[in-house]
Amino acid sequence: MASGVSVSSECMEAFRSLKLSRKHKYIIFSLSADLKTIVPVKTSAEQDYDKFVGDLPEDECRWAVYDFEFEKDSAKRNKICFISWSPDSAKIKQKMLFASSRDALRRSFDGIAVEIQGTDYSEIAHEAVLFKANSSSR
């Protein structure tokens, strides 16, 4: 069961620049005003993780892709994370729309290593993502 919302080509282009040319650190996606297409609303090369968190609105849903870097066994690693942001305070219509459209966006991207479903800031905090990234790498 899905909303039937489609993914714009801009989403794919932004994702490619993040994954292949590493031009972006993160991309934030939302729905177009007519609620028919998923579009990127922000791309950024900002390295500070908290700036990224600050770009996720307190009471509105978004999706994000984040190129997460961390150290494991004294080697630098990176994992691409897919984040579904659906704060409890968002309106039910938006929650429903985003949850039923998520799969379309997620399936468009290859190479996602970590998936996070966040409903409050603690679930998308740096340590929470780090924990997931660590446990998904061997």
């Binding site: 069961m1 899905a2 909303s3 039937g4 919302v5 489609s6 007519d34 609620l35 028919k36 849903c61 579904s84 659906s86 704060p87 409890d88 968002a90 039910i92 219509k93 938006q94 929650k95 429903m96 729309l97 985003f98 949850a99 039923s100 998520r102 799969d103 997620r106 479903q117 409903t119 679930e123």
Partner: protein
Amino acid sequence: MVNYGGDEVSALVVDIGSSSVRAGYAGDDTPKAVVSSYYGYKTTAGDSDAKLYLGQHGPSIWREGMEIGNPWRDALIFDFNPIPPLISHALSDIMHANPSEHPILVTEPAWNIAANRERMAEIMFEEFQVPAFYIANTGVLNAFAAGKGSALVIDVGHSVASITPVVDGFVLRKGLVYSALPKLVHAHAKHVLTTPTPTRGSIDLYPHQLIASKIPVEPSASPRFALREDRLAGTTESWRTWYETREVDEWIQTVAGVLDQGWNEQVAAARPPRQYEFPTGFNTSFGPERFQVGEEFFYHSPQLVAQNPNLPKNIPTLLSESLRACDPDLRQVLMGNVVLTGGGSLYTGFADRLENELSRNFSHVKIHAPGNPIERKYGAWLGGSILASLGTFHQLWISREEWQEHGKAIVGQRCK
């Protein structure tokens, strides 16, 4: 809005439960029609198309020889005969909508069988002549309405309690479990009321329809009422069962609760008692026994289990069975995304107790339990209402032409 032949028409959403049929326009916040799923009928020899008594002027009006029926049995729609009249009552009589002009989204439980969903499609296309149809799973609708693609949906309804793991928008079948737990809780409540205690006798559960007069009495004193003798002989067994169920439900909704920390005699005794008056005029205050009732959701004594091999499974048992079927990695995700829904979960303290039960075994537990009772009772309807109102959803509807071309097979292909 959905586009049909150039006109924008809103879809209709119908959520059929064992206690009520919820129907309304897609895009609305609440269903326009909430009709009891129980219906009255009279058995007259040789007349197979007996009239059904539905809705507000249905089962609750006393009629000589009227029996009460319900389409559900064992968590599935068992008898489809009353389904078209129930839907028609909600859509045509209450909402004044013409089903043949609107696409209709119907809900189904996650454990629904293919024959039932195909029958529903057939009723919609052949009897109601709808232009388009979709059948959506209540587990997924509830997860989505809570903003979650992955969730553990705990749905406590009128007659079934279920746990549905939803992963990336699909039901994880092997982790799907359900039982008739609400019926056991109800039976326990009835037992509490009809069993004499040192301070009171067995409580009569006569409804107001059978009471001719009553005189106010002191709390816990024997009631003084006169029955409508003229009606007793014409009252059927099924109507009596139905109204007793209603009286017990009313009592449960007003009085019963769940202790958030687990059963504790002292804590139960320390909670303030609650006053309740029955239609007979009998009134008394209920102390610890009102928590014993809710306790049945979470704990069954070893004796009870030993005596009843088919006892409906309680919430902790359902939970462990469901989680055992899921990978350990997934369990943690599900525990962080528990969605509590269904009118039967509105017991005071239910969500807190659930959280305590879960936190004992899992480190990160988060329960999404809408505080708004409308959202809790009509979560699946609301999810369907939003989904069916989306312009982009039109690609998913099964159109009348597709039904005519492919028949029943299209239902399983399209509605996953």
